[in-house]
């Protein structure tokens, strides 16, 4: 695992990507720091972070696109997967490397509150809660990027898909506000989702009977809930879609709340996507 970690880290800094990421990231931090803290005169560094969550959408694809797609393209995955290393060690090593690049940029931002404290009173608790929240959001997004990189052989496609997926999670807050709230609409939406799940299952395991029976069971469940206990549908659509709104929970950290459910949420997103990455690599080889 250490070998993979070291190799990945080195390749970030022998190619341009590592420097590009850190440079671009710090430049944007600098711009917002200038605007809010120096010219605006606020003593809150978390405002800077709050305004620059959008950079994840651009920077995460750049960092993660090559992680696994490149190995596949260059056929170097043959070396890794025939070496005495388990797939999970390889994936975790790669994730830690990309996370380390991100954290190394974050470490530099940790000095900003100190700079501010020279000119006034700064609430370090607020600032560092914000930084922690920012790191957690980054960790979750990097895991999603890693997973998508495992699905494609081309770096460009992996980057574009990661970009789109992150953008969707980013604007999910807005989308949720537009969703209908009536129970009937909720039933409709969930039955469509059930159908989609059945179709996806069919393409994954190529078994018509299993897919159809699963679809029927899910549809029946949706209908039963609607007729037996429609109150369950109250606001369910919003709740479910909110779950995908990764940025949403960041607001609490911004307001200085060390939100335990938020921490658990981000860590579980990270773990789930690392797990999915391992599974997708295993599955590809078992095909």
């Amino acid at each position: 695992m250490l070998a993979i970690f070291k190799k990945e880290l080195r390749s970030y800094f022998t190619s341009m990507i590592g420097y590009l990421f850190i440079g671009f990231f710090l430049a944007i931090v600098g711009v917002y720091f200038m605007a809010y803290n120096l010219q605006g005169g606020y003593a809150n560094f978390e405002y800077v972070l709050n305004s620059m969550v959008f950079v994840f959408v651009i920077l995460v694809p750049i960092l993660t696109m090559r992680l696994l797609a490149e190995e596949k393209k260059q056929k170097t995955d043959q070396l890794l997967f025939t070496s005495p290393l388990s797939v999970s060690k390889i994936v975790v090593g790669k994730y830690l490397a990309v996370f380390a690049v991100f954290v190394s940029a974050m470490v530099i931002t940790m000095f900003y509150p100190f700079i501010l404290s020279k000119y006034g009173t700064v609430s370090f608790k607020l600032a560092y809660t914000g930084i922690l929240g920012f790191v957690l959001v980054g960790a979750a997004y990097l895991a999603i990027g890693l997973f998508l990189s495992a699905l494609f052989e081309s770096q460009a496609i992996a980057a574009v898909v990661t970009f789109v997926v992150l953008l969707i999670t980013f604007i999910m807050q807005g989308i949720v506000g537009l969703l209908p709230t009536s129970n009937k609409a909720a039933w409709l939406i969930f039955s469509v989702i059930a159908l989609l799940i059945a179709v996806v299952i069919y393409f994954m395991i190529n078994n018509v009977t299993v897919a159809i029976s699963l679809g029927v069971v899910l549809e029946a469940a949706c209908a039963i809930i609607y007729f037996a206990k429609p109150s369950l549908y109250d606001g369910l659509v919003v709740k479910v879609f909110d779950w995908f709104s990764v940025v949403d929970r960041f607001d609490n950290f911004m307001n200085g709340i060390l939100d335990l459910s938020g921490i658990v949420y981000y860590i579980s997103i990270t773990v789930i996507f690392i797990f999915l990455t391992i599974q997708s690599l295993n599955k590809r080889r078992w095909r």
Binding site: L2, A3, I4, K6, K7, S11, T14, S15, Q74, K75, T76, D77, Q78, L79, L80, F81, T82, S83, P84, L85, S86, R285, W286, R287
Partner: protein, 389 residues
């Protein structure tokens, strides 16, 4: 050392490897032969645990590759068809990385890497980035990577591709010297290489084992099928008539003539029968002067072509392959000859009959060619399929 049992790999409806079983003893070099898309690389990928088998098992020194992959993979060094190189690393960095993932002890690393670089003759480019190296160097760096950690089993997929003749000989010698301490499986298109290096040759086609033997035995086995190359002056039916009088001919192939009036023939005779003398008298009697007569002993190339072509055409099982092919051809010939004997009495029809035999021969030849084309098509398809997979 390596035991492969009933290995099957299926991609959708395409059988890439069909029930392959073999064992390799410690210290042996096994050569894998087969046309493109025969399943060589797929088999190697399964032995090394890169892809999973549909069914069957591979054990390396008692460790099942699919059930106990980490232990099994510790004993394997693998050079795939395309060497897995990190282009933005230098040669030393690359080998150090491999030593690390293969968990070579830190103290031994530097010396081992120096030794291996000397062995594979890449020490003069050790500090250069791999992306700047030529194909031959890249291939040797890949081979060096497979040797790192001195695994007991080396699996080399076409190790000499892209090398110049001098390097090929060096690598061959290297492989031979490695076999003292390692068990080696290698695949190749170059047959002379296999016969020069390997203790045992396996010819596979369309995922099936066709024959497995030592290179010497293989040649001996096939020597039975004597081939005589004949150039005579005369017409086809005249020559055919003369040939029909000779016993022991299995197959006659007409080939293109380079000069007018001359006919070139490839005649295959029964095992252990030398028909050259008889041919001479028969042709003399028929009034067809011989311009050239040459006996051809089958090389490994011929055996390879013969075996792979025929197995595709007839889809025959490997067991009965040798015998059956000859028996059937003989029976055909005997029938023809019997017919002819009867008809010799009816002299009027004789000429027609000769014409017919000739047609038959031409037909056989045409069919042969058609099937060859089919074979190529199929080979192409299976290539494509493999790529898609």
């Amino acid at each position: 050392m390596i035991e492969v049992k009933n290995l099957v790999k299926r991609y959708g409806n395409h059988l890439a490897v069909d029930d392959l079983s073999f064992t390799v003893e410690r210290g042996q070099i096994l050569g894998f032969l087969g046309p493109n898309g025969a399943g060589k690389s797929t088999t190697m990928n399964m032995i090394t645990g890169y892809i999973a088998a549909t069914s069957g098992s591979v054990t390396i020194d008692g460790n099942d590759v699919f059930e106990d992959p980490i232990e099994a993979k510790k004993m394997i060094g693998y050079l795939p068809e395309i060497p897995p190189l990190y282009l933005d690393m230098s040669v030393v960095e690359y080998l150090e990385f491999i030593a690390e993932i293969k968990a070579v002890k830190k103290k031994e690393r530097t010396k081992m890497i120096q030794d291996i670089m000397k062995m594979t003759k890449v020490d003069d480019v050790s500090e250069r980035l791999i992306k700047h190296l030529s194909k031959g160097y890249k291939q040797r760096v890949g081979l060096a990577g497979a040797i790192v950690g001195y695994p007991e089993v080396l699996i080399l997929d076409e190790p000499t591709v892209g090398l110049d003749p001098k390097q090929i000989i060096e690598i061959r010698d290297l492989i031979k010297s490695l076999s003292k301490n390692h068990t080696i499986i290698l695949s190749s298109h170059i047959l002379s290489e296999v016969s020069a290096v390997c203790d045992k040759v396996m010819i596979i086609n369309k995922g099936k084992l066709i024959v497995s033997d030592s290179p010497e035995n293989l040649s001996k086995h096939m020597e039975g099928a004597n081939n005589v190359h004949l150039i005579v002056k005369g017409t086809k039916d005249k020559v055919m008539k003369a040939l029909n009088k000779i016993d022991g001919i299995v197959k006659v192939d007409f080939q293109g003539t380079s000069e007018e009036d001359l006919i070139e023939l490839k005649i295959q005779s029964k095992e252990a029968i030398d028909i050259r003398e008889e041919l001479f008298y028969a042709m003399a009697e028929a009034g067809c002067p011989i311009y050239g007569l040459e006996r051809k002993v089958m090389s490994l190339e011929d055996i390879f072509l013969e075996l792979t072509e025929n197995s595709t055409i007839t889809e025959r099982k490997k067991k009965s392959f040798f015998g059956q092919m000859k028996k059937e051809k003989q029976e055909e010939k005997q029938e023809e000859r019997q017919q002819e004997k009867q008809e010799e009495k009816q002299e009027q029809k004789q000429e027609e009959q000769a014409q017919e035999t000739q047609n038959q021969v031409m037909q056989v030849k045409e069919e042969h060619e058609k099937e060859n084309l089919e074979f190529e098509d199929r080979e192409f398809e299976s290539d494509k399929e493999e790529e898609e997979c």
